[in-house]
Symmetry: none
Subunit: 128 residues, 2 copies
């Protein structure tokens, strides 16, 4: 596989760990299991470390001493958490789980370089 693709319905175990589908697992193992998870507007985006870094790169031109630039930077960083795939699972911290309204069932949507985690009902509303 050479990009995250497709929609998967996966479960979260009692401790909040997501079972990564085998197709994504391969990609992550190869590329590195280091991830950044980012709270978006009602859902979560997961970036492989490398991809996160590439996005960060784009913000380098901002000036940390400029007030509005600084706000944009803060917005970007504040939403993010580092995490990792371990034993084929990704632990989603409590705060993120709540922000995205994730319960037992999660819908995982590949977006090529990244993938998204959705509460099934929210995704359905969005796609209408």
């Amino acid at each position: 596989m050479n990009g995250f693709l497709g929609t998967y319905s996966v479960s979260i175990d009692d401790k909040g760990r997501l079972n990564v589908p085998a197709k994504f697992k391969g990609l992550l193992e190869r590329d590195s299991p280091q991830l950044v998870m980012c709270v978006m507007d009602g859902f979560l985006i997961v970036f492989p470390q490398r991809e996160w870094a590439a996005n960060e790169e784009k913000l380098h031109h901002l000036n940390a001493f400029d007030k509005s630039d600084r706000n944009r930077l803060r917005e970007f960083y504040a939403r993010a958490t580092e995490c990792e795939m371990k034993s084929g699972k990704i632990l989603i911290p409590v705060a993120q789980r709540e922000a995205a309204g994730l319960k037992k069932e999660v819908t995982l949507v590949g977006m090529s370089k990244t993938f998204e985690l959705w509460a099934p009902d929210r995704l359905e509303k969005t796609s209408k």
Copy 2:
């Protein structure tokens, strides 16, 4: 053969694998057995990898951080799954089978660069 052409009625085995007709097999073996299967409105489209990539190309101008662009990207990627022809068969994952209402019999329609998979009754309704 130099494009997918014609209509075939083929069977799906107990594990959901489609037997690829010999005429398509040749094309796929030459061009690469790597495929992308895409859920459409009641049926499935199968793209050879290369052909899929060409379509993907057209979305490169979209900005993944813009909400409405992101929705369009999601709509595109969420429908897709990578798959592969193995031993002359293509496994159609459960979710896709259900989305297209595929049972034992499948009608396969060549569309030159791609081909479609239909539940026979649905195709019939559509062509009326």
